[in-house]
Amino acid sequence: MIDLHSLTFAYPYNSPLFENFSLSISRGETWSILGPSGCGKTSLLYLLAGLRKPTSGEIKIDGELLTRPRPHSGLILQDYGLLPWSTVYENVELGLRVRKFYGADGKHTPENYLPKNNVNLWLERLGLGEVAEKFPAQISGGQRQRTAIARTLALEPDLLLMDEPFSSLDAITREDLQNLTLSLCAEQNLTLVIVTHAIEEAIALGEKILLLGDAPNKTAKVFENPNAGKSEYRTSQEYRELCNSLWKEMQHETA
């Protein structure tokens, strides 16, 4: 589904974060991108979202060259990106309003897009019905993140990109939302790419874990983790062993 071919990316006047970097992600897979601060994991996510352009090389999604944000990709950021002046309902509706604003132009909105209002459905699905009329400042961090997820899923994406979405949540809420994300991905057949700096989260969510190290990243170091998302996995010996080996790898990468 996603093909990165000989990707090089650098911010102006900075040394490259990626150099001749290639990676392939298949439809329906869940991927965690793990790495220390400054390794380029968020930049990679923004590249996949079409919000940054490669310095050289190319990114193809479903065979099409990515040059701008793609209508079928959904991005969820660390601070949720909710509009503080809009209610939870209006925030969930936002993507649909943007699509209505442009119409089915094939650029901002899919060409075959038929307007529909599934806001209430997603509000109920994510347990936000009771806070629909509240503003983001009036609800909890977990509810804000649910709102951001509902807003993205209301657009029926096929690719979900998440940038450390659960980092500011308490442990219980975090695990609850991680499980919810995985079940929604399975249910909607979404491809998930999640950026995190937490090893436990990377293992809990990603069937494949891409470990990035000190820039420039030249080759994709991928760890297979087929049991991600399975119940009881978090308490298994296998989980702990992978945590340990990833920890050692990260130390080695940044040494």
Binding site: Y46, A49, G50, L51, P69, P71, S73, G74, L75, I76, L77, Q78, D79, Y80, G81, L82, L83, P84, W85, S86, L94, G95, R97, V98, R99, F101, Y102, K107, H108, T109, K134, F135, A137, Q138, A148, R151, T152, L155, L161
Partner: protein, 246 residues
């Protein structure tokens, strides 16, 4: 601001005024009660018309300022290039006391309302453009990126982020400008008009030496400003509900 607090403050000021007028004990500072009596009498004797004319001029000036300066501030704040090129021009023009342009404005725009409203616009324009520009510059990039990821291009960013984000700044700029606008209104009404509170105050104070009437005009001007403060507060509560939630 609660109405009860305003009433208390007004009572307090009236007491100080009463004491001051007793100490001065001259016609140039009549007691508040005398002014109030004249104020009520003058309302039906032309003061209401002067009030209406001033209200129209200052409201039109503020509205035009918002309509011109807010989009300009947004455009400058949303584009780094525009900000780099145009902000120095704004900074050069902002500190010039616009009142010095009264003769120029009168010369070019004549003696009608256009000149008076233009003068108000000249002053408010810069206050609003700077506040709205700062607001637009300060919008968190995550907010813009998250909307871009939902498919938004430049037009949708303006519609769904820049415009609503700048509303509080516009209202703050308006609130800050009310005092200046009313002061400029007074100056603009000193010239080439027979209507408006500025004219009424000046005519009664300097030509007729009717001090109670002059103070009645001052009270009317203060009420004009107060009414505008309340209106902006009301608009803020209506349009920016999110700012008032706990």
């Amino acid at each position: 601001m609660k109405r009860r607090d305003v009433l208390l403050a007004a009572t307090g000021l009236a007491v100080i005024w009463q004491v001051a007028s007793m100490i001065v004990n001259r016609p140039i500072l009549p007691a508040p009660w005398d002014v109030l009596v004249v104020f009520v009498k003058e309302l039906s004797n032309g003061l209401l018309i002067h009030f209406g004319v001033s209200l129209w001029r200052v409201t039109a000036g503020m509205l035009i300022s918002v309509l011109v300066a807010a989009p300009a501030g947004l455009a400058i704040g949303a584009s780094k290039t525009a900000n780099r090129l145009l902000s120095p021009i704004i900074y050069l023009l902002y500190p010039i006391p616009k009142v010095v342009f009264v003769p120029v404005v009168l010369l070019f725009l004549g003696i009608g309302d256009t000149a008076k409203i233009t003068l108000i616009v000249l002053i408010l324009f810069f206050q609003i453009i700077v506040l709205v520009r700062d607001q637009a510059v300060g919008i968190p990039p995550q907010l813009l990126q998250s909307l871009q990821s939902l498919g938004a291009g430049r037009r949708a960013l303006f519609r769904f982020i820049y415009l609503p984000a700048s509303l509080p700044a516009i209202l703050t700029a308006l609130r800050q400008s009310i005092g200046t606008a009313v002061a400029v209104l007074y100056i603009s009404e000193l010239f080439a008009t027979k209507y408006g509170l500025g004219y009424y105050i000046y005519y009664n104070g300097s030509t007729l030496f009717n001090y109670p009437a002059m103070y009645a005009g001052v009270v009317a001007m203060s009420l004009l400003g107060l009414g505008m403060y309340f209106s902006v507060d009301w608009l803020e509560r209506k349009w920016c509900k999110w700012k008032f939630v706990s």
